[in-house]
């Protein structure tokens, strides 16, 4: 009995150590079918896990100790803990693609490109809790401060959801990635080579930022926005307040998913080069390049910690 109790305490300590670990970046490799966990402090690869079904979208819920990823080919929502242990693997309806975590509840928001819907899924039970109609081919999604924004690639619009109120806002050609920052939404218009900036309070486009060719996603650090430009193999850097373009940083090929760490670095997944690059947002330079399994995309808020 005492032994069992001791073992129980040891197991609990192990679980605590796992849960209380460092911030992780969770990188989906679409071609390889893998999820790579990187310690954002040491920049060491912690684990490489099999994740079949051509995964692209991923989101880390640091507070609740969960990593969520959508496998597009198999239409499944995979749930892992921050150490990479698989917790669940739920079937999803339609053609799921984009993913975000609701900050207040930890529920998953998944775009369905077959049904032109946004679905809310409980990652613990796999149950669908709600759904909203979107524009055509909903892709990226994000939520902050009670506002959900969905980029409708073929609808060339953004769906803004605030409580029971839903609005459609026209943007540029093929909007794809969505990031919210300081009361504004930033949407990459892939075929317009620009980012549309939406004021969330007035639900209006207030500016467009010129980017390199085929912008994919946006992240923020050090008061600056960073846009991955797939074809240009670069990041467009702009001032988060004035929205003026400051610089362009060369990256490896086909930069796609991008996210900031809490210690203020920018991480970029380069789909073609099979790398994850670490960028200093102040010095505006690439500090480190890590090898990833084939085809890293990391589409979403892929960094988080307890």
């Amino acid at each position: 009995m005492i032994r069992a109790a001791t073992a129980g305490v040891a197991l609990a300590l192990c679980l605590l150590a796992g849960a209380g670990g460092a911030e992780v970046a969770a990188v989906t490799s679409q071609n390889a079918g893998a999820l790579t966990l990187v310690d954002t402090g040491s920049l060491q690869v912690l684990a490489t896990l099999p994740l079949p079904g051509k995964p692209a979208a991923v989101a880390v819920d640091g507070r609740r100790g969960r990593i969520l990823a959508v496998a597009v080919e198999t239409a499944r929502l995979h749930v892992f803990d921050l150490a990479g242990a698989p917790l669940a693997d739920w079937p999803l309806s339609g053609a799921p693609f984009g993913l975000a975590i609701r900050p207040q509840t930890g529920m998953a928001l998944v775009t369905d490109q077959a049904g032109n819907l946004l679905r809310e899924i409980d990652p613990v039970t796999g149950q669908e809790l709600a759904q909203w109609q979107t524009g055509a081919l909903p892709s990226g999604v994000a939520e902050a401060e009670g506002v959900i924004l969905v980029a409708n690639r073929d609808g060339e619009s953004v769906t803004l959801i605030r409580g029971a109120v839903q609005q459609q806002i026209p943007v540029g050609h093929h909007p794809f990635g969505v990031t919210l920052n300081d009361g504004r939404g930033f949407v990459t218009d892939v075929l317009s080579d620009q980012v549309s900036v939406i004021d969330l309070a007035s639900a209006a486009v207030i500016a467009t930022i010129p980017t390199g060719e085929r912008p994919y996603a946006v992240a923020f650090a050090a008061g600056r926005g960073f846009v991955t430009n797939q074809y240009a193999a670069s990041l467009t850097v702009f001032d988060a307040q004035s929205l003026a373009v400051i610089a362009e940083i060369a990256t490896d090929d086909y930069p796609e998913g991008i996210a900031a760490t809490t210690d203020g670095q920018i991480l970029v997944a380069n789909w073609f080069s099979d790398t994850l690059q670490v960028i200093d947002p102040v010095a505006l330079q690439v500090n480190q390049t890590l090898d990833m399994p084939e085809g890293p995309r990391a589409f979403g808020a892929f960094v988080g910690g307890p």
């Binding site: 079937p91 060719e213 074809y231």
Partner: protein
């Protein structure tokens, strides 16, 4: 207890997966990467291939009508067998010796792929040109359940064969340097 629960959840999830035939998403983007070392300097090779308006290095091209040599320019390229290709210049960077083009209209008789883009870079390795050809594309069949000759493997093989033809033309002109 927690482990048992996790195991149970996993079993249930697996069972659910079997019960529900997942409506799969469309195809995912594919890539190829092939490299050749030539018996010429990077400058010599770039002088031949670093243009959107000419393709003298490649046999079988009968005409090129290009709107320019800047990013965003388009061209109509006609081949000896009558194939007409419509292409766009995505990138032309003489400093990096990099040129990227894409087919603006898929042409499955030319290459069994859709949304096909070609990225060529020339690098220096001990004075010899190392040419890297990268393809980024989707398979020829855009829906689910592709026929065998238009699936991921067949499309990848088709792009690799096309790029091997480009490599063969470069080797014929400059000689192999490996």
């Amino acid at each position: 207890m927690q482990k048992i629960l996790i195991a149970l959840v996993a079993v249930l999830a697996f069972a659910a997966g079997i019960a529900t035939r997942a409506e799969a998403h469309g195809p995912s983007r594919l890539k190829t990467d092939q490299t050749v070392t030539l018996n010429a300097s990077p400058d010599e090779v770039w002088a031949a291939i670093g243009s959107f308006q000419t393709m003298d290095w490649l046999p079988g091209v009968t005409s090129i009508e290009a709107t320019g040599n800047e990013k965003g320019a388009t061209r109509v390229r006609t081949l000896e067998d009558g194939t007409v290709l419509k292409e766009e210049l995505l990138k032309l960077d003489a400093k990096k010796m990099a040129i990227s083009t894409r087919l603006t209209e898929d042409n499955l008789s030319y290459v069994k792929a859709t949304n096909y883009a070609l990225h060529i870079t020339v690098k220096d390795e001990g004075g010899k040109a190392v040419v890297d050809l990268k393809g980024a594309f989707y398979r020829a069949y855009p829906q689910n359940d592709p026929p065998a000759d238009q699936n991921d493997e067949a499309s990848t093989a088709s792009v690799e064969a096309l790029h091997q033809g480009l490599i063969d033309a470069l080797v014929a002109r400059f000689g192999a340097g490996g």
